[in-house]
C-alpha cells in the first residue's frame, strides 16, 4: 500500500505557504509553474524518463511547502530535485551534466519560456567555467541535504501515470485508434498537473489525479462514459473530482493571463532577481536589509571551500 500513496501537505503547511510566504499569490504561482517547466525541460535535455522528471517535480513541490521559494535560486532547487531523484533511480546523472543543462536553459540561447526564439547559436553564452561549475555543485549539494532534511527523507513518489493505465484498462479505453488518443491525452493532463500552481500532486493522492485526468480526457474527446458515478469505483468522490478537473483545466489559462500581466515572463527562465525586481516595482520588499550582506559572505566562504 505504501507504494501507492504519497505523503500530502498538511493544512498547516498549505496555510503557511500562503500566509508566511514573502510573495503575493500571483508571483508565487508564476515561480512555481515556470520552475516546474524548467525541471521538465532539463529532464528532456538529460534524456531522463518522464517518470524521473515527474518525481523531481513532486519533490520540489513538497520542498517548497517547507521552505519558502525565495530562500534559494529557483533553478538550483529544480536542479537539486532532479539530482536527488535521478540518483535514486536507474539513471543517475552527474552534477556536471546537470550543471551544463541548466547553464544552457538559463542562457539567452535557450528558447525556454521565451516568446521570441533566439536566433543563431552562440555556445559561449552557455559555456560553464570551472569555477562556475564548482559553485553550482556546491549549491546543489547543500540543497540536496536541505531538501532531504526538509522532507524527512520521504523521497518515494508514487505517480498517477501507471494507475491511470490500469484505470483506462478497466474502463476499456486502452487500445488503438481513438482510444490511443484518449490514453495519450490522459498522460498529457497528468503531466500538466505537475505544473499546476495549485500543487495538485501534494494535495491529492495519485488515484484521484488519475481519475480526474481520465475524466478530462474523456470530456475533451466527447467519449462515452458510464452513466453512473464511475469515479467512486476508484475511490474518488464527486467533490474531489470536481476540484481536480477545474485545477487541471485552468493551468493553461492562468499562465496565459500571468504572461499578459507580466511581460518579463516571456524573456526566459524566471529567476529570483526578476521576481525581486517585480516586487520592487510593486513597492513590496523581500527579506530584510541585512540578508544580502550575509549571502555575499556565504558566497566567499563557498568559493574558498571549493578551492
Amino acid at each position: 500500500m505504501a507504494h501507492l500513496v504519497n505523503p500530502l501537505a498538511t493544512p498547516a503547511q498549505l496555510y503557511n505557504l500562503k500566509s508566511s510566504s514573502q510573495l503575493p499569490d500571483d508571483l508565487q504561482e508564476v515561480v512555481f509553474t515556470t520552475t516546474q517547466c524548467l525541471t521538465q525541460a532539463a529532464g528532456l535535455l538529460l534524456e531522463l524518463p518522464q517518470s524521473t522528471t515527474a518525481q523531481a517535480s513532486v519533490l520540489l513541490a513538497r520542498y517548497w511547502l517547507v521552505d519558502s521559494p525565495m530562500m534559494h535560486e529557483f533553478s538550483d532547487v529544480s536542479a537539486a530535485a532532479l539530482f536527488i531523484v535521478s540518483k535514486m533511480g536507474p539513471l543517475p546523472q552527474s552534477a556536471r551534466d546537470i550543471a551544463n543543462v541548466y547553464a544552457y536553459l538559463l542562457s539567452s540561447q535557450s528558447p525556454l519560456l521565451r516568446a521570441e526564439k533566439p536566433t543563431g547559436d552562440n555556445p559561449a553564452e552557455y559555456y560553464l567555467s570551472e569555477s562556475d561549475y564548482y559553485a553550482f555543485q556546491n549549491r546543489i549539494l547543500a540543497l540536496e541535504a536541505r531538501i532531504l532534511y526538509a522532507l524527512s527523507f520521504n523521497t518515494h513518489v508514487s505517480l498517477p501515470h501507471p494507475l491511470a493505465i490500469t484505470y483506462l484498462q478497466t474502463l476499456d479505453f486502452l487500445g488503438l485508434g481513438d482510444k490511443k488518443d484518449i490514453s495519450a491525452r490522459v498522460m498529457q493532463h497528468l503531466n500538466t498537473a505537475l505544473l499546476s500552481p495549485q500543487m495538485l500532486y501534494v494535495t491529492h493522492q495519485p488515484h484521484a489525479l488519475a481519475t480526474a485526468a481520465i475524466y478530462c480526457a474523456a470530456r475533451d474527446f466527447g467519449a462515452k462514459m458510464p452513466e453512473s458515478a464511475w469515479w467512486e469505483v476508484f475511490d474518488v468522490d464527486r467533490e474531489e473530482l470536481g476540484f481536480l478537473v477545474v485545477g487541471l483545466m485552468s493551468v493553461d489559462n492562468i499562465m496565459r493571463k500571468r504572461r499578459e500581466d507580466m511581460p518579463w515572463m516571456n524573456e526566459g527562465a524566471v529567476t529570483r532577481s526578476k521576481v525581486e525586481a517585480e516586487m520592487k516595482q510593486r513597492g513590496l520588499r523581500v527579506g530584510n536589509g541585512t540578508k544580502r550582506g550575509n549571502d555575499e559572505e556565504d558566497e566567499v566562504m563557498r568559493m574558498m571551500d571549493s578551492r
Binding site: 500500500m1 505504501a2 507504494h3 501507492l4 500513496v5 504519497n6 505523503p7 500530502l8 501537505a9 498538511t10 513538497r62 517547507v66 539530482f83 536527488i84 540518483k87 535514486m88 536507474p90 539513471l91 543517475p92 546523472q93 552527474s94 552534477a95 556536471r96 551534466d97 546543489i140 549539494l141 540536496e144 541535504a145 532531504l148 532534511y149 526538509a150 522532507l151 524527512s152 527523507f153 520521504n154 523521497t155 518515494h156 478497466t170 474502463l171 476499456d172 493522492q205 488515484h207 458510464p226 452513466e227 453512473s228 458515478a229 464511475w230 467512486e232 469505483v233 475511490d235 468522490d237 556565504d298 566562504m301 571551500d305
Partner: protein, 514 residues
C-alpha cells in the same frame, strides 16, 4: 463498467464501503533533531558509522541511532544510504527492521561553516545480532528456538521478495534479535528492486530476468551461482543465505568460511557435492565455471548434520540446492515438514533471554576499524560498472571510481587479501567481513583506503565486521596506516590479536544468563 454495484460484500453501499476503506492519510514533516533523543552511550563504531543507543524524549522508547558518515562529499549524500532509507520507508513487516525516524545533528558552533550537519537513522533498539549471540560459548540454541527464528527469518524474507526486493546481504550479522524473541532482518545497504514476478508458492524460481551486479553478498553466505558470476540471478541468492544462517544456528558458527572465492567454492562442493549437469544445470556455461574442473565428490551434508535430524537435513538440502533455478523459495520453505515435526517451533515469548550481545558491544571494532576496505562501491547497488548500462557518462565523473569497468570479472585471485596465509585453523568466528566485495577491489591492502570508491554505509549495528577477519592477519600487515586510526595508537600492540580480543571480551562483562 456500465453497472454499479448496489451492494458490496459487506452489505453497505459502495460509497460507505469506499469511505470505510479509504487509503490512509499520510503527511510528512521534517526530521527530528538529535536533541529529541537522549544519548545513552555508544554501542559501537565501525568504518561505516557509529551506532549509539538512545532514548526518545517523545516516546521514551530505546532506539539505536546510526550515523551516516559522508565519506566523499563530492557526490553529496551517499547513494546507498539514500536508497536504503527510501526502501525502508516503504517496508512494513514485523520481521524487517523498521526505520522510525531520521535525526539531524547541527554543528554546535554556528560560525563553523565547514562543518556539515550529521544525519542519523533511528531504528528500534534490538538486544542482539544473531552472529554475536552465536559467538557466545554459553549460548546454545534449542531446536524449537532455531525453528522459531528460522520461521521469522523466512517470513521476513518472503515479505521482501513479495515486494520485489532482493536483500543481497543475508548473513547472521544482519539478523537482529531482541529479548522478546523477535527476529528482524536489517541492513538494506545492498538491497535493490528486482524485475520480474515475485516467487510463487510451489513454483521453481527459474531464470533471472536481467543482469545485476554479482559483487554482492558477503562471501561466506554467497551462493555458488554468484561465485561463478551469474548475472541474471534471482531471489534464490537470499535463500542460500538463509540456508547458511540456519546451518550456522545448528552448529554455532559459520559453516562455509572460505578464505577466498576459489576456496569458498571448494567448501561448497565439499558440502553439497561437486557440480554436475544434474545437480546444477548450466554451471559450466557461467563465466566462472568455464575453466573449472572440481574434484568429483558427493557432499557431506548428511554426515555433517546427522545430529540435527532428518527434517533439518532435508530443509537444508532444499535451501542450499546448488541449482539456483530449483532452489526452494521462502514461501515454500515456510511450509516445509521440518516445522511440523517435534519439537515444534517455540513461541517467541518462550525463548530464554540473554544479556545483550552485539559485536559492537565488545568493542571489537577497534580492530576492525583499522581496515577500511574498498567498500561496496556504488556499483554494488546499481550505479556500478554492470548496473545494466545505467552508468553511461557517469563513471567518468568520478562517481564510481572503483566500480569502474576494470573491476569486472577479474577480482578472482589477484587481490585476495593476504590474511589467510599464516592462520592456523579457521578462525573461530570471524564472519566474513562485511560486504565481501570489499576484498575484491583492486587495491593493495596496505594503502590507506581513501578515495572516491568508499560508499560508506553499512546499516546494521555491527556495520563493519570485516575487522574480525582482520584479527587473524599478521600484525604488521595493518601497521602502517596513516591518520585514520590514530585512536589505535593508545592501545597496546604487543599482544597477540587473538588474545587481545579474548581478553577484552572478558572485560566487557559478557555474563549471559538463561
Amino acid at each position: 463498467m456500465d453497472r454499479v454495484l448496489e451492494r458490496t460484500p459487506e452489505g453497505t453501499s459502495p460509497r460507505t464501503f469506499a469511505l470505510n476503506h479509504q487509503r490512509p492519510k499520510r503527511t510528512y514533516a521534517g526530521c527530528s533533531r538529535i536533541a529529541d533523543y537522549e544519548l545513552l552511550g555508544k554501542l559501537g563504531e565501525g568504518t561505516f558509522g557509529e551506532v549509539h543507543r538512545a532514548r526518545s524524549r517523545k516516546s521514551g522508547s530505546i532506539v539505536a541511532l546510526k550515523k551516516i558518515i559522508m565519506h566523499h562529499e563530492k557526490d553529496g549524500f551517499p547513494i546507498t544510504a539514500l536508497r536504503e532509507i527510501k526502501l525502508l520507508k516503504l517496508l512494513s513487516h514485523e520481521n524487517v527492521l523498521r526505520l522510525e525516524d531520521m535525526a539531524v545533528e547541527h554543528p554546535t558552533k554556528a560560525t563553523d561553516k565547514r562543518k556539515k550537519p550529521i544525519m542519523y537513522m533511528v531504528m528500534p533498539y534490538m538486544d542482539h545480532d544473531l552472529s554475536g549471540l552465536l559467538e557466545n560459548p554459553s549460548v546454545h540454541f534449542k531446536e524449537g528456538q532455531i525453528k522459531c527464528y528460522l520461521l521469522q527469518l523466512l517470513r521476513g524474507l518472503s515479505y521482501l521478495h513479495d515486494k520485489n526486493i532482493l536483500h543481497r546481504d543475508m548473513k547472521a550479522a544482519n539478523i537482529l534479535i531482541n529479548n522478546q524473541g523477535l527476529l528482524q532482518i536489517a541492513d538494506f545497504g545492498l538491497a535493490r528492486h528486482y524485475e520480474g514476478p515475485p516467487p510463487v508458492r510451489g513454483q521453481n524460481r527459474g531464470e533471472g530476468r536481467r543482469d545485476y551486479t554479482s559483487l554482492v553478498v558477503t562471501r561466506w553466505y554467497r551462493p555458488p551461482e554468484l561465485l561463478l558470476q551469474l548475472k541474471q540471478y534471482t531471489t534464490a541468492v537470499d535463500v542460500w543465505g538463509v540456508g547458511c544462517i540456519f546451518a550456522e544456528m545448528i552448529v554455532g558458527k559459520p559453516i562455509l568460511a572460505g578464505e577466498s572465492d576459489t576456496h569458498q567454492l571448494e567448501l561448497i562442493w565439499d558440502l553439497m557435492g561437486s557440480p554436475t549437469e544434474e545437480n546444477m544445470p548450466g554451471w559450466k556455461l557461467l563465466p566462472g565455471g568455464q575453466g573449472l574442473t572440481p574434484r568429483p565428490r558427493t557432499g557431506n551434508l548428511q554426515n555433517r548434520f546427522r545430529d540435527a535430524g532428518t527434517g533439518a537435513i532435508s530443509l537444508l538440502r532444499e535451501l542450499l540446492r546448488l541449482d539456483w533455478k530449483t532452489r526452494i523459495n521462502a514461501v515454500d520453505a515456510l511450509e516445509h515438514p521440518f516445522f511440523q515435526m517435534q519439537p515444534l517451533p517455540m513461541k517467541p515469548h518462550e525463548i530464554p533471554t540473554y544479556e545483550e550481545s552485539h559485536e559492537l558491544d565488545r568493542r571489537k571494532f577497534h580492530d576492525r576499524k583499522a581496515n577500511l576496505p574498498p567498500a561496496p562501491k556504488g556499483g554494488t547497488v546499481g550505479i556500478g560498472p554492470d548496473a545494466n548500462g545505467a552508468t553511461a557518462g557517469f563513471n567518468s565523473d568520478g562517481y564510481v571510481r572503483n566500480g569502474g569497468a576494470p573491476n569486472n570479472g577479474r577480482f578472482r585471485d589477484d587481490r585476495r587479501p593476504p590474511w589467510p596465509r599464516d592462520r592456523g585453523p579457521p578462525p573461530s568466528r570471524p564472519p566474513p567481513g562485511a560486504r565481501d566485495d570489499m576484498d575484491r577491489a583492486p587495491r593493495p591492502r596496505g594503502l590507506p583506503p581513501r578515495g572516491g570508491d568508499i560508499d560508506t554505509y553499512i546499516p546494521s549495528y555491527r556495520g563493519e565486521d570485516d575487522g574480525r577477519r582482520r584479527d587473524d592477519r599478521p600484525r604488521d600487515d595493518r601497521r602502517p596506516r596513516p591518520p585514520r586510526d590514530e585512536y589505535r595508537r593508545t592501545r597496546s600492540r604487543s599482544r597477540s590479536p587473538g588474545l587481545d580480543r579474548r581478553d577484552r571480551e572478558r572485560e566487557r562483562v559478557e555474563v549471559y544468563r538463561r
